[in-house]
Symmetry: C2
Subunit: 243 residues, 2 copies
């Protein structure tokens, strides 16, 4: 399956590179001959997965847009969360986002950003670490089997390791039903997260994140109850949607 894997490597590279790339550049980056790269690109271009520009350079194509947005449209959790994300972000005036676990990784599914100059700005589709974020800790507390702890680097001085999280904070999260992150992932970034359940299973989490200066610890009661309320609203919409 080397051929298909190489094609996927090419696509991933085009995405990460960010600019249109020629076969020589792609070949250098992936250690592949120009002719191989070119041969892989031909069907990708024919079918719209890659776009060939007039200058002979290549970039990701609109087929990715169609299929990518198709994933989100068909995800019941995303559909149910949409209006709740909207209203919650407006009410708290901070970035609110939705995430879930997929193949052991926690990925951002949707978001509504705050309007401040300094704001949290997660990328949809991006992974967030399980041990150093509010959402990650929720998963570790309620459904640790759904997340992989293979990689747990220390991001900041405040980062706890998986072992350190074992009893103290996870028990607290289980008791009160929400989690928080205080600059454990990114300096200055604070977050609150609440679990979203369907059929008694953890299917995702709703989080709010922003600069520490705007989410003071003294506001924790209000902020946590906002995310818990939002998560409940999403749960209710999920239940209604399954009729």
């Amino acid at each position: 399956m080397a051929s298909l894997e190489r094609a996927l490597d090419v696509l991933a590279h085009l995405h990460e590179f960010g600019d249109a790339a020629g076969v020589t550049q792609i070949g250098r980056a992936l250690d592949l001959p120009k002719s191989t790269v070119h041969r892989l690109l031909v069907p990708l271009v024919d079918r719209g997965w890659v776009e060939r520009r007039e200058d002979g350079r290549y970039r990701p194509g609109m087929m990715l847009v169609s299929l990518g947005l198709g994933v989100l449209e068909r995800e019941p959790l995303v559909v149910a969360a949409q209006p709740v994300l909207e209203s919650t972000a407006q009410r708290v005036e901070q970035t609110v986002f939705l995430a879930t676990a997929r193949a052991g990784r926690i990925l951002v599914l949707d978001k509504r950003e705050g309007t401040g100059f300094l704001r949290a700005s997660p990328r949809i589709g991006a992974e967030i670490p399980s041990h150093a974020t509010a959402i990650g800790k929720l998963y570790l507390a309620f459904a640790p089997q759904l997340v992989s702890s293979a990689s747990a680097p220390r991001f900041t001085a405040a980062t706890s390791s998986i072992e350190e999280l074992q009893n103290a904070e996870l028990s607290l999260i289980q008791t009160r039903g929400w989690a928080t992150n205080r600059e454990e992932w990114i300096s200055g970034l604070v977050g609150f997260a609440a679990p979203i359940r369907f059929d008694d299973r953890l299917v995702g989490a709703l989080a709010m994140a922003g600069p520490a200066s705007q989410l003071p610890a003294t506001d924790a009661a209000r902020l946590s109850s906002e995310v818990v309320g939002a998560a409940h609203a999403i749960e209710a919409r999920l239940k209604r949607g399954s009729k």
Copy 2:
């Protein structure tokens, strides 16, 4: 390149099917043996392009979301149009969308929907026909080499063929600088579109669409000047962004 093409077929099928599918169903749909389908799916699952559910069925994965949204984030036209789409949609209270030509096809890049119960709801990434829509006619009038007229079916009784459009309406569009669609694509659907240029080249179009009852011909002057104004605003933002 049969292997890669088959994998792309599988992905396209999963997208179109809309629900999670098993190898047998995919194999039947694509006339491929189960084992071939399964073998193609393995690296797709490993890398996140396809998600395998617990019940052994497969659906498109989050890698598509990352890359698809990456395409839109990096498209200067989409970035420039975003605030303009927002404000225009609010002002006219109808669906406003952005489209461009890619490999001879006209594709929707972004949109902001009206809030009416009855509204136009284009799908981002979807193709719109060139001969039966306002945007398509803009391209035929100003840059016909960018669009393919290979397929020009009659959608409604109002649809004109490419030949019928040759002189009469295209000249008018060239003269007044905007185009309209009066139920030529979909019965009851009316649209107005204005060209977006950069460096004297047509790079896209801004359109407004909605039910005929809400976009009366008597309102054409106001509506067309809205889309023309919005297109100019996007052009200005494009020019500013290229410094």
